[in-house]
């Protein structure tokens, strides 16, 4: 295809120029080759049936993004002052905007570029071992350009009280940039941490974020992981998160997708040992001509694992969405308890969503359920609220809030929950006469 040829050439040419010399040169080389083989996926690819990435493939993004402009960034609210924080601008760490004082002994919250030098043993042990670039073009592209991103290491038995905020800012005067942060989060045995990964911009430009986050949870470790995607409504966002869970570890994630013209969030959980638990929640709220796609793979390999998925979507205007979630239960994974729920609310006749739950079970003593729903606001419910004196808009806003609340009220981290509450209440307050 013509489009593919142009864009692959762009990335290849830039790749040839870079020639970084470190322990990962061979990895980058192999990943670039894999990207060349795979190419950008088309809708013929089963995993990309509902999302057309041709607008990404057809754009000539600028691979050498400009450095941060402090004036433009003033517009941006830089995180929560109570949290540890790393801020990346166009994929590169900004030391000035970051704040990592008073970390407990042994805890590392730093740039991957630095860690490749200073913590090469840990980085080499895990980098690119969890996210598989051989099967996904976007992961391959990210891997070929591994340079910077967040590196977080929590030593054995350390309980990190304050959340770690990883903030990815896209910024330029004209747009058209690509940033490809690569993150590695390693939680040692028995440790506990909360990580917030957010994607923001002070402008409404078109740009492309292609991020990959790899997470390793040691034996009995716990992580609360939040992904807060608030890209520009003209941006493209492909974010992949791959998680490896060791024995009795617990992974609780909440994914929030509000921004981007086109977003795709991949989440792959490798429940590779016994008694692990994961709870994956997601909420998406899109309008206009936004497209939002969530793609989950929960891979139960050993006995007594528990997985929960609850994703809820609200689509207005001409927005489109997709959800696909696969639960695979291997032969050895007896006593697995897996559940998946995806519910969608369409607020307009033009909004559309495709949902595809998948269960593959090879063990005989398991509990696995899935359910998917797509609906509109119920006329009888609207009538009930109107009969109490509320106008059409108030009634619709209140019921929409109600739909979201099942998930929002379970968000543990207060500032995130408050923000979601605010987003839905603001919508409610915008209604005249409320």
């Amino acid at each position: 295809m013509m489009v593919q040829a142009v864009e692959k050439t762009n990335y290849l040419a830039e790749f040839q120029k870079r020639k970084s010399r470190d322990a990962f040169s061979a990895l980058r080389q192999a990943a670039m080759a894999a990207f060349g083989e795979l190419g950008f996926p088309t809708r013929d690819h089963e995993d990309w049936k509902y999302t057309n990435v041709e607008p990404i493939a057809a754009s000539l993004f600028q691979l050498n993004a400009p450095a941060a402009d402090p004036i433009a960034l003033q517009k941006l609210e830089i995180g929560n002052p109570q949290w540890h924080r790393l801020v990346f601008v166009n994929g590169v760490l900004s030391k000035e905007l970051s704040s990592t004082e008073n970390l407990p002994a042994g805890v590392k919250v730093e740039s991957l570029a630095g860690a490749i030098q200073s913590d090469s043993i840990i980085v080499e042990e895990y980098l690119s071992k969890i996210a598989d670039y051989r099967v996904d073009a976007f992961t391959a592209l990210n891997t070929a350009f591994i340079h910077d991103g967040a590196f977080v290491f929590i030593p054995k038995n350390v309980i990190l009280a304050k959340p770690v905020h990883l903030m990815f800012v896209s910024h330029s005067w004209e747009g058209g940039i690509v940033s490809q942060p690569r993150n590695l989060l390693v939680a040692g045995e028995g440790s506990s941490a909360t990580i917030v990964e957010s994607y923001v911009t002070p402008e409404d430009h078109a740009y492309f974020t292609n991020s990959v986050t790899e997470i390793v949870l040691g034996k009995n470790a716990q992580m609360d992981y939040y992904k807060d995607q608030k890209e520009s409504v003209n941006a493209f966002h492909v974010g992949s998160c791959a998680v490896r869970q060791e024995k009795a570890s617990r992974f609780y994630s909440t994914s929030i997708s509000l921004g981007a013209k086109l977003s795709r969030s991949n989440l792959v959980i490798d429940l590779q040992d016994e008694g692990v638990e994961c709870d994956l929640k997601g909420i998406y709220f899109v309008t206009g001509t936004q497209h939002v796609d969530h793609h989950l793979f929960v891979d139960h390999k050993k006995p007594r694992g528990t997985s929960r998925q609850l994703y809820k979507g609200i689509l207005d205007g001409h927005a489109t969405g997709a959800f696909s979630g696969k639960i695979l239960i291997h032969k050895d994974a007896q006593k697995t308890d897996a559940e998946q729920i995806n519910k969608n609310l369409l607020l307009s006749a033009s909004a559309k969503v495709d949902t595809k739950p998948q269960l593959e079970i090879f063990a005989d003593d398991v509990k696995a359920t899935h359910g998917a729903a797509i609906g509109q606001l119920d006329e009888d419910e609207i009538f009930y609220l109107k009969s109490r004196g509320m106008g059409e808009e108030t009634a619709r806003a209140l019921l929409t809030f109600g739909f979201a609340s099942e998930l929002v009220e379970k968000v543990k981290l207060d500032p995130i929950r408050w923000e979601l509450d605010r987003i839905f209440w603001t919508r409610l307050q915008e209604v005249p006469g409320t």
Binding site: F383, L385, G433
Partner: protein
Amino acid sequence: MLEIRNLHVSVNDVEILKGINLKIKAGEIHAIMGPNGSGKSTLTKVLAGHPAFVVTKGEVLYEGKNLLPLAPEDRAREGIFLAFQYPVEIPGVNNAYFLRAALNEIRAHKGLEEFDAVDFLEFLKEKLKVVDMDPSFINRPVNVGFSGGEKKRNEILQMAVLEPKLAILDETDSGLDIDALRVVSEGVNKLKRPDRAILLVTHYQRLLNYIIPDHVHVLVGGKIVRSGLKDLAFQLEEKGYDWVRG
């Protein structure tokens, strides 16, 4: 207060009400009794303005004005209240917020000052006593996880808060055990006022042991086949609906 003249109503092109005539004055309690499928619920829904019910003929005057062109929310703001047979659950929205939002819309319509959260809470606590409801209910999402009886109680609480001129109660007795029926009925009786009319719709006579109507009408096949005073209800209970079908 309410005058219904030769009202014909269809749902999905099927005629359900076939010429209803009814006059209700302020301060009166009217009961409409009828077997299943007689059109009782349709009458309550059409008065409240449900869009699925189409008036094909006739008129409804409320306080001397044509009610039918008004949207449901405007009818509510003008003082019409429908207690639902099946109240709707609204997850995530607590009862107090819901009631304050509704009352403030009605107050704004009347040109009254809106209640702030603190004043409203005081006001609401008084109203809870009408239906003997535990204050914990005001922080729970509207009707979510409520038992049948609690939902019906909550409807009457809404009526107490919104202070309608015309209250229409659709099968408020259905699904209630004898204790809940007594509490709900007492609540309605407390809300009886000279400037308020109440229209009760029920299948059974037992509700009328607690709430004594001034007039009883029997609805069969979309028409009022008999009207009378409260003893009509006892006769019906004794003889069954076949007696009036005749």
